[in-house]
Symmetry: C2
Subunit: 247 residues, 2 copies
DNA sequence: TGTACATCAGTGAACGCGCGTTCACTGATGTAC
DNA sequence: TGTACATCAGTGAACGCGCGTTCACTGATGTAC
């Protein structure tokens, strides 16, 4: 009786979700290491040992939250990018960056959970790597699109590429340190096929800049300089778009 | 009897240092939130309540460690920069960036303590802001030196500034979003007198990039792309030197 | 220089807390014949 | 369709742990006259 079987299964799925929701709520209120199974159970009106039917240990609950956080951030970036016309590559880049920032500001503890200091004694298992890569994959796609758009423009107009606010865009033949060229090739193969290594290398810089800036804002490091950070963030996003050569 | 008075005082200062050293050791071994007064006391062969003669609470001990960490990192950057001839501005920038990274890799938990997610329930008091600004102050000095060197060269050579690998250096008149221009002016006044706002704005980008990249390396976010990160790091440091217009 | 007093460092016991995890159990929900 | 059995969810008590902090105390070190 599949319908009946899935009745129990559905109850199970629902409670699993409720546990995660409550855990997420506590995460938001207290931070990652204050997350306690007992408190979650208490809030749900269960006895703490009951949670062990759903998560074999506290670390497994944490892992589930981490995966959810990566997925939520990734989905938010993907959604934002999909909302901009495909040809407007710079607009998609802006959308991606702002989606990252907005999600981080809206979910500071979840952001800290995945991009802050690693939780001590906790080692991220394999299942996190897929979700963890979603934003990078989006960025890789934009780099690839940006490169091919620019390559097409160069062919057509004899070098009159889009004006850059912040400097010359990367060129395919630019020299790179050897180790980096190899790493960039691997990255390109994975998320930005056909994109030359120098573009990827700059993309890595922009990627680290984006998250560095976001973390700094969230963790209070911009107080006294670029806080509030709205203007700085937008400026940096555009500067980095130029830097990686987006049209 | 000042000498005798300072005998007791010296004993006190020494034990205070020993407590911090032991706490730092535990920090390195276990991470910030595993730091426990009882464990520190145990290791020192004291009873836990004795620590309250030295630190009024666990948070105060944490604060002391945070200040020490900022100072250690700041001193390390200052030392590295001072070891390079004053005129070699790019060399000093490189030294500064690599000092930050090297210190972070050598003291990962202390780095996480100050640049990772904020410790929950802990609010950094005033005394941290001075030490926290030391690296930024170093960078501000380099931006100022870079700008005045470039301004001098422009005057002398009619615009033939140093060749940039990565694009055109910032110009004084470049447009900035309004809020950012004001913030940049404040920053300039504090740590880079006479430096135009666009240079400062790019400096902020480079600053966030430096720490973003370092945090990503330390927190394992570069695994699968730019790990090991030596080549990428050096490349990014040079790219950012161009980006902020260092000669 | 010697004595009476004040200051301070360190002790040891105790308070009250919350945590993760285990285990034998009860009762309800599902399955097989 | 009805019964006997298996599976699973949730209970409640318990284990053992370590933590931060307080408090009254002892004894040593310093200070004032």
């Amino acid at each position: 009786m599949t319908a009946a079987a899935s009745a129990r299964d559905r109850a199970r799925a629902e409670l699993t979700r409720e546990i995660k929701d409550e855990a997420r709520r506590q995460l938001a209120a207290e931070g990652p290491q204050r997350l306690s199974l007992r408190a979650v159970a208490r809030e749900l009106g269960m006895v703490s040992s009951a949670l062990y039917r759903y998560f074999p240990s506290r670390d497994d609950l944490l892992t589930a939250l981490i995966i959810d956080a990566y997925n939520a951030l990734g989905a938010s970036a993907e959604r934002a990018v999909a909302g901009v016309p495909r040809a407007d590559i710079r607009g998609r880049w802006r959308a991606c960056c702002h989606a990252v920032r907005d999600w981080a500001l809206a979910n500071p503890h979840e952001y800290a959970l995945i991009y802050g200091s690693p939780v001590p004694g906790y080692r991220a298992p394999r299942e996190t790597v897929g979700p963890a890569g979603r934003v990078a994959t989006v960025i890789g796609g934009l780099l690839a699109d940006g490169w091919s758009a620019r390559a097409a423009a160069l062919d057509g107009s004899g070098g009159k590429a889009a004006a850059a606010v912040v400097g010359q865009p990367p060129r395919a033949g630019e020299p790179l340190p050897e180790g980096l060229a190899a790493q960039a090739a691997v990255v390109a193969a994975a998320i930005a096929p056909g994109t030359p290594a120098p573009v990827i290398a700059r993309g890595l810089i922009a990627w680290t800049q984006l998250f560095g800036m976001t973390s700094f804002e969230l963790f209070g490091q911009l107080v006294g300089s670029a806080d509030p950070a709205d203007a700085f963030f937008s400026y940096a996003v555009d500067a980095m778009a130029d830097f990686v050569g987006l049209p």
